[in-house]
Symmetry: C2
Subunit: 323 residues, 2 copies
């Protein structure tokens, strides 16, 4: 994995990806005690950054391999990213999703033309299901994060951040990234190393699911005790990736860990002040920026709100609880 692969992915994504805005609002600055810049990937096609990696991976296949089809497993955002990319390339697409994923994610994935296969997150092994279906139909598996072309695609978000930060005169800052397996975090870290070396990528995770933070602290890949029980479904992964962890270890600052209460308050703040819809797993970085000021350095902080695919009932509850 290197910057050339990210730049190549950026070329393939050009004209297909949305350059998401870097939003700013004084009310958030007042809460955080520094300037907060929000890279709104919830406004990306399919509602999350995952479209970048999906397009990168699907577009990198040979046409012969691609026409047999692709398969992916995902709590929903990777699913939609791959499904939309596959459809645009005319490739069949199978998505393996946990049965407890938000209904909106399952519905949206089907609406994007994918065949959805559901599994039980607590008792079934999604990797085994994926491998078996891949072999049976000749599908190419697009892993959610531990795959070079996916990391390269997510890294294009980092290229945009480097350009947009420079345009705002931001020379030095922490870049907080909602982190599951580390595909986005490692991709952004590589892009910043090349194009904005004074910006430091830092992963953010929810309490109880802080495998990356603990892994960075200990120097060894750690596992989470549970795979369910978080509102941040999009970023619950068992352990950092084999490919992503060494990159994060080399380039990232320390991880940050936020509570579910902080996540909900961040969703509410994004609603009130930025008028964007952020899902829980996409709000942990903003939560860290707003509510963990002493763990961050510098006058500016950049956060990536990674996704917006949240069930309406949950979102309504967050608004009502915090009213």
């Amino acid at each position: 994995m290197n910057i050339d692969r990210i730049r190549a992915a950026a070329e393939r994504l050009n004209g297909h990806v949305r350059t998401t805005p870097l939003l700013h609002n004084e009310a958030l600055d007042a809460i955080a005690g520094r300037r907060v810049w929000v890279k709104a990937e919830c406004l990306q096609h399919t509602g999350s950054f995952k479209f970048r990696g999906g397009w990168s991976a699907v577009s990198a296949l040979s046409s012969e391999v691609r026409k047999r089809g692709v398969i992916a497993f995902s709590s929903g955002n990777h699913a939609q990213g791959v499904a939309r990319a596959a459809r645009a390339h005319g490739a069949p697409c199978v998505i393996i999703m946990p049965a407890d994923a938000p209904a909106v994610k399952i519905a949206n994935t089907r609406a994007l033309g994918a065949e959805v296969v559901l599994y039980d997150r607590a008792t079934e092994d999604r990797d085994a299901i994926g491998a078996s279906l891949s072999a049976e139909r000749g599908l190419t598996l697009v892993k959610p994060f531990d795959e070079p072309e996916v990391i390269a695609g997510q890294g294009t978000c980092g290229l945009e951040i480097a350009t947009q930060a420079a345009a705002q005169g931001i020379t030095k800052a922490d870049v907080l990234i909602c982190c599951g397996g580390g595909g986005l975090t490692s991709g952004i870290a590589l892009a910043l190393e090349a194009d904005a070396p004074a910006l430091t990528a830092r992963p953010v995770e929810p309490e109880g699911f802080d495998d990356v933070t603990r892994s960075l602290a200990s120097g060894q890949r750690q596992r989470n005790a549970a795979m369910t029980g978080s509102i941040c479904d999009a970023i619950v992964t068992p352990t950092p990736g084999e490919l992503t962890f060494p990159i994060m270890q080399r380039l990232c600052g320390a991880g940050l860990v936020v509570t579910e209460t902080e996540v909900k308050a961040a969703i509410r703040a994004a609603f009130d002040h930025l008028r964007i819809v952020v899902e829980p797993g996409g709000a942990v970085a903003l939560a860290a920026a707003l509510f963990h000021p002493n763990e961050i350095t510098g006058e500016d902080v950049i956060v990536v709100t990674t996704g917006g695919n949240v069930d309406a009932a949950f979102f309504a509850n967050v608004l009502t609880e915090s009213a």
Copy 2:
């Protein structure tokens, strides 16, 4: 009023206004039966297009006049736009707001440093209050729509639409605009006339408050029977402006009128598919695009979602009702 004044406003706004994205989503296309392009002005500074007109008006004043201060009356969005522009220019700012405006708008206006004076929308005359305060303190009144520099500022949104539509290869389309007094609609219409003459500006209003639609149909400025009773508080105005109406009459297509049920469904669709927060008055144009397909022509339709300043409790109710 002419295009040169809009281009001059664009120069003063350059570096201060946010170029809002033109969003697109296939699920909305499926509902509408044509491609839907959403100019997301709810992502503008202060959460609505009104920042454009506010900045344009405040920046056009001489420094001597400006330092005595400005005053504006508004249901909230114009208030915030003028307040933020005034603060950035170091000008004192008084805002006269209806006492029944959404709490979030009152709070945000105060947070932007303005002195807020509340009045009763049913019994008091905001114009009289404004004129008296202006005279007393030497403040310059910034009218919400019937003011050339405000129309010019709103028109910069039309310049962006022309550029963004061309980039998407959209050569001919209706441009649906949420319409109160007609400042945005007339400004966009003038910009399109110059830069994209095959795009047609059309005002959209809520049922019962369709003064502009009836005025265009009859050729005479009509009045609304009521000034309260709509969820679309941002665009409830008594009658089209003296300056804006002749422009709309010369350049706009027929108005469209939508129901409150359609407005709520449009808010929900924007939540589900675009991950943006749109207020009722900012959703009427999207409602027309989605639910009045037979009143629109062409393969593409462009809508301006003009604002996102909505109370959380109302928004939660919309999500819950439509679940």
